[in-house]
């Protein structure tokens, strides 16, 4: 008798669809994946939607509207293993830039009646609402990370983790340091590894799209930017307040450099 395959579900919250696409971009491996997992719920890819529970759920996107709060609890109840993947799901995403302002200020820019906007004041990560088994950072996450997470799920190994900065990958790749040699404000020293030190390899500074690494020394990097590169406070705010703006380490660092008049 063939063993019943574990079921996979892929969920979307507030996002650009890029993380789901990183699954579809597995190309040949996707077909192999379908041999090992029953793709039971993946609306972007199939009309066939099977009811839960599901053994493994990937979640793309952030919690940003009131109905999401209940939806993510439902996804949690339906999922044995829950893996938020990508910047939005693991930190709130670029749309979390609104967390630093009154969302109604944004709304007023474009909306005639902002009081009717059914959006939450903040865009937040999945883990702020439900417990999760593993998080995959990156905008988008690396395909290899996604595959490694699936392999760990299927074979019961430890989940893939690389507690290192982009600098480590940069050194391994043999890139010349863009911070030291080109005097570019590179976030590599405080950013989670996983991209393969992509930007330095293309002669541009890392802009932190894999989010903060464990215990990032953001303050000393900011000081380097100020003292050696002549960065102004507003530039520091923008540097730390981008795709991972809402991740605690980057959020605190960006707030450190803000005008004191801003309200908490």
């Amino acid at each position: 008798m063939p063993k019943k395959k574990p079921t996979l579900a892929v969920w979307k919250f507030t996002s650009c669809d890029g993380c789901q696409l990183s699954l579809l971009n597995l190309e040949e491996e996707l077909v192999e994946l379908a041999d090992c997992l029953d793709i039971a719920y993946f609306p972007e890819a199939s009309r066939r939607l099977l009811p839960g529970p599901y053994d493994l759920s990937f979640v793309e996107g952030s919690v940003s509207v009131p109905e999401h709060v209940e939806q993510i609890r439902r996804v949690r109840r339906l999922s044995r293993v829950l893996i938020p993947f990508g910047t939005c799901a693991t930190s709130g995403g670029i749309q979390a830039l609104r967390n630093f302002t009154d969302v109604r200020d944004y709304a007023r820019l474009v909306y005639e009646r902002p009081e009717l906007l059914p959006v939450l004041a903040e865009s937040t990560p999945i883990s702020q609402h439900v417990p999760v088994e593993l998080e995959l950072q990156g905008c988008p996450p690396n395909k290899a990370q996604v595959l490694a997470a699936v392999a760990a799920f299927l074979h019961g190994g430890p989940p893939p983790r690389t507690p290192a900065s982009v600098c480590l990958e940069c050194k391994r790749a043999g890139h010349i340091c863009v911070l030291v040699s080109r005097s570019l404000p590179c976030l590599g020293p405080v950013t989670q590894a996983g991209c393969g030190a992509l930007c330095p390899g293309w002669h541009r500074p890392c802009y932190g799209c894999f989010g903060p690494k464990e215990t990032p020394k953001t303050a000393s990097l900011a000081r380097w930017f100020t003292e050696r590169l002549g960065a102004r406070e507003a530039e520091l705010v923008r540097a730390f307040r981008l795709f991972y703006a809402n991740a605690p380490a980057f959020r605190l660092e960006s707030q450190t450099h803000e005008e004191p008049t801003r309200q908490g």
Partner: protein
């Protein structure tokens, strides 16, 4: 049947979240709605105060499927605001990058999202079981596009190498050389795809469209051109906002665009093809005729053929650009901040993508406006739903529902794009 309701709560095989609602009363379609419920992300709001250099990376995040399109419209609009002109070799490299996105985005739509409908399959994995050689073909095409974007842009999704003024680093001839074989194979695969999809059955459906696309005197449009239509519109991109307006409707989260004078219009592959057939390569033209595409071609179900023609064109065009490629001496031209306004439109895989930015003297954005293809097509899409349903009310409900889903998928709607700016308040007004 006289009274009927079709409601698909969560449309599948489209990018983003939308539902479809159709109501029939006394044998007449009274409501045909493509309702988008994807939450807003406020891109235009949070772009204010950002440095102009950040805009290509930020706007890329509007869409994971077509990030290059956002980067292209952004850099061209910003370069206009800053008075920067890009030398021909960098211009060619941008066109090469766009070819990659057209290939991967069209391959995704043709094989994963659209073809299963014609074959009665729920998804592309069913294709893997029944016609594995065709899925392999599709995966190969998608991979070829992705490889091109990655070799030039750094990675497939949200490339990192595009900047205002050019690129961060230009690849050497040697780095790009392996792409030649990949793209030659992709051109063959696209041709085979076209022959395959030409054998599908297409419902007889030819709405009275006004097609809108860029048009360029020498080339099939990607990054440049005037905005033209099949009913005589012919304007500079700078005048786009004079002719096109957006309106709010109560049932959907995204704005509907319309031509001020005439209402609904269609952007995307079918529009590009009809308005620019003469600028396709001779092989792409011959392949289109051989596949039975008309000129003009009015059947939206046949957009799958046009996507295959455009994949063939994109692969050939990329090959041509690779053949003549010489590494430019500089990866980018110098750019200095200054106050200004810039507008640009480029042809995203799904159609015309318009950006406008206003900058202050420090180079910080003071305003941004982005009009994606899906919001432009929404109004026309609903008219398609209404017309198609009206003509096919005799179909069994499940068949009608599936056909209507397919009517939506003809557009390859990208809902994440359409709602980045949406206005959610309801304005009660009589429609039509």
């Amino acid at each position: 049947m006289k009274n009927q309701r079709v409601r698909v709560e969560y449309l599948t095989r489209v990018e983003g979240e939308a539902r479809l609602v159709l109501k029939v009363k006394g044998g007449r379609v009274t409501v045909a709605e493509f309702a988008i419920f994807e939450p807003p992300r406020f891109f235009e709001a949070f772009l204010r105060g950002r440095d102009f250099r950040e805009a290509p990376d930020i706007t890329a995040r509007i869409c994971g499927i077509c990030p290059v399109a956002y980067q292209m419209s952004a850099v061209h609009a910003l370069e206009k605001a800053l008075g920067v002109t890009i030398p021909p070799p960098l211009r060619d490299l941008r066109r090469l990058l766009y070819c990659g996105e057209w290939l991967s985005s069209h391959a995704l739509h043709v094989f994963f999202l659209h073809a299963p409908d014609f074959l009665g399959f729920q998804d592309a994995l069913a294709l893997a079981r029944h016609q594995p050689e065709m899925l392999r073909l599709g995966l190969g095409l998608k991979k070829a596009g992705n490889e091109l974007v990655a070799r030039l842009g750094g990675r497939e999704i949200h490339p990192i190498n595009v900047r205002v003024g050019g690129f961060y680093r230009v690849p050497s001839r040697e780095e790009l050389a392996p792409l030649k074989d990949t793209l030659a194979r992709a051109a063959e695969a696209a041709h085979a795809t076209l022959r395959w999809v030409a054998g599908f059955e297409f419902p007889d459906f030819t709405p009275d469209y006004e097609f809108v696309a860029l048009s360029h005197p020498e080339e099939y449009p990607m990054n440049e051109g005037r905005v033209v239509s099949s009913r005589g519109l012919d304007i500079a991109v700078e005048d786009y906002e004079e002719h096109f307006v957006e309106e709010q409707l109560p049932h959907t989260h995204a704005l509907h665009s319309r031509l001020k004078e005439r209402g609904a219009y269609l952007v995307g592959p079918l529009a590009r093809y009809n308005l620019n057939y003469g600028r396709l390569s001779p092989t792409a033209q011959a392949a289109a005729r051989e596949a039975g595409l008309g000129l003009p071609e009015l059947n939206p179900f046949k957009s799958i053929l046009v996507r295959a023609v455009e994949m063939l064109y994109a692969a050939e065009e990329a090959l041509r650009l690779l053949e003549v490629y010489e590494e430019p001496p500089e990866a980018a031209v110098p750019v200095s901040p200054r106050a200004g306004v810039g507008r640009a439109a480029t042809e995203a895989p799904r159609g015309l993508l318009y950006h406008r930015y206003e900058l202050d003297e420090a180079g910080l954005l003071t305003a941004a406006r982005i009009v994606p293809p899906t919001s432009q097509n929404q109004k026309r899409l609903e008219e398609d739903l209404r017309e198609f349903a009206q003509g096919h009310l005799d179909l069994p409900p499940e068949d009608l529902t599936w056909r209507l889903e397919q009517t939506v998928r003809n557009y390859d709607p990208c809902i994440s794009c359409a709602t980045h700016f949406l206005r959610l308040e309801l304005r009660r007004e009589e429609r039509d």
